[in-house]
Amino acid sequence: MREVTAVIRMNKIQATKEALAEAGYSCLTATLAYGRGKQKGLYINPLGNVKPDSKKAAIRFIPKRMLNIVVDDESVSEVVETLMRVNRTGMIGDGRIFVCPMNDAVRIRTGERGDDAL
């Protein structure tokens, strides 16, 4: 069992949910998160021009959506591919995907454990 954590653009959440549901992975947890990458935030002056060489970032943390999806081991690659296909715009800020191990899961309603609980 693995946990796929994806940090994606705010406006891609609807398309991502639809694509994941189509591929058969409808369960997910979405969280509002703030993030930044190697560029250390957004550099925008009042006129809206982007100046990547200025020293201080104007927006230090950019609003993002974080998705947590727990799937069994075989489905990881399909989920990752779906997330990348939908969320790729080719521009900086598309986000990142992490795949972490998950030891156990319990469905609270029935008490099922392991893969049955997913």
């Binding site: 998160a33 993030g35 974080m66 790729r88 900086i92 992490f98």
Partner: protein, 109 residues
Amino acid sequence: MGDVMQMIRAIIRPEKVDEVVDSLDNGGFCAFTRIDVFGRGRQKGIQIGPTVYDELAKVMLLIAANDEDTDEIIGIIEDNARTGSFGDGKIFISPIDEAYTIRTGERGL
């Protein structure tokens, strides 16, 4: 890709975030995710007069790091987020199997 990556989840005081972020920046670690969370610790919250606050506002920083950088990052967070009183927060470290950049589809950080 043989290198091991770790996810560092640091739960710290909201007023210490800027300090921690700036110091990590200077140490060369500039990529984070920040989430506003609520939590309590072993003291079960805080009591001021008759009022009990059992969910205190904290900030969770998620930092993905290569294995060899982990100790340095933890040290920086510890030094900058510490006040010495209860409620300074906790740091959790867990392994990451794979990481992808969506824009390029590359593996790794």
